[in-house]
């Protein structure tokens, strides 16, 4: 990034910060938002709602076949069993990776993402490059993420631009038989549950 570009960027950021502050002040003045409630929203999404939630769902599915069945049949209810629900996850569907199927999720029209289990989406998920390409050349995009899907494995892309939010249940890695549910959850990544990583 050139120095000039960096300078413009700083000025833009300052301008945006000022606009948001002005908006907040006006809404507070009109009694339409409470600054303490804004703090609570931030706290929830910065500290409580993130991919660790989804990792617990996946680990439970790996160790408990009956839970996995419930997750694949009615994901919203199964996810709620572990205490996760709500905004941007009111209607969930879980799709399972197997030896013959690999799933990956996207929202081509905006950035729909399953907040209760994965938190807020990363910048790349919201980027033009990801949204435009993963529906058309999923294998090339996955390869850029370091994931080579064998030709014999079916790739299923889920464009979640309507009312359903999707999560991918990755395959349990080999050699993890002795691990506890908590240790298994530590293996599960955000990208694994989007489908851009194996686990």
């Amino acid at each position: 990034m050139s120095k000039d570009h960096g300078h413009d960027h700083d000025a833009e950021e300052k301008g945006l910060a000022l606009r948001v502050k002005t908006l907040e002040s006006l809404l507070v003045e009109k009694g339409l938002v409470d600054p303490a409630a804004l703090d609570r929203f931030v706290e929830e999404y910065e500290t409580r709602i993130g991919p660790k939630n989804g990792a617990r769902v996946v680990a439970r599915a790996w160790v408990d076949p009956a839970y996995k069945q419930r997750l694949l049949t009615n994901a919203t209810a199964a996810i709620r069993e572990l205490g996760f629900s709500g905004l941007q996850g009111e209607n969930m569907v879980a799709v399972e990776n197997t030896g013959s199927v690999h799933n990956v999720i996207v929202c081509t029209l905006c950035s729909c993402y399953p907040w209760p289990v994965l938190g807020l989406p990363p910048v790349w998920y919201k980027s033009a490059a990801y949204r435009s390409r993963v529906v058309k050349e999923p294998r090339a995009v996955l390869a850029e993420f370091g994931l080579k899907v064998p030709a014999a494995t079916e790739v299923r892309v889920w464009d979640s631009s309507a009312e359903i939010r999707y999560m991918v249940v990755p395959r349990r890695p080999d050699g993890t038989d002795g691990l506890s549910e908590a240790a298994l959850a530590d293996l599960v990544t955000r990208d694994g549950m989007v489908g851009t990583a194996a686990v």
Binding site: L27, L38, V42, S85, L109, S132, R133
Partner: protein
Amino acid sequence: MDGIHDMGGMDGFGPVTREADEPVFHADWERRMLAISLAVGFAVPFTDDHLRREIERIPPELYLHSSYYEKWLIAIESLLRERGVLPDGNATLKVETGPAIRPEAVAPAIHAGFPTRRDDAEAAPRFAAGAKVRVRNIHPKTHTRLPRYVRGHEGVVHRDLGVFGLPDSNSEYQGHRAQHCYTVRFSQQALWGRAVPVGDSLYVDLWEDYLEPA
């Protein structure tokens, strides 16, 4: 509308660039913007359809240049102007505002969410799982959740998702037009006309109004 936001299948955006150890927010104003966007809806009525409509009306050059939370800022400002909450003299919608959401109500509200699925009795399904359908070649000028890249293509109904309001009419304040929404499976080969592995497929959730029997 056939806007810049409808990105599926476009070329030219380059590789997907990722940030290692990306934080949840990159600046304090992003924290405030997320929170304002979520909180203000409790006092000023609007739905996700209305918010998305405003995001899609951002001019293409600005849309491409703007970060996620900048788009939210532009859209929320626009929504609030339209509703007369922000002053500019162009209010076109009369709304009853309510009180601000209280701090102690935030976590329960997040956990409750805003369920949008409607009673199954509101509409009978026109299609069943396994039905062959064609996506209608329509180009609504309104907000729509029908991506361009599937229009005119044949697919198979994978799952009936139940009854939901139609975003195209809800976003324009013309009612919910409750109808079934379906997951439709398309062959990657059929969509892109290229030699890709034959089993590869794309699943898109589509409202009944977007579909016709094939």
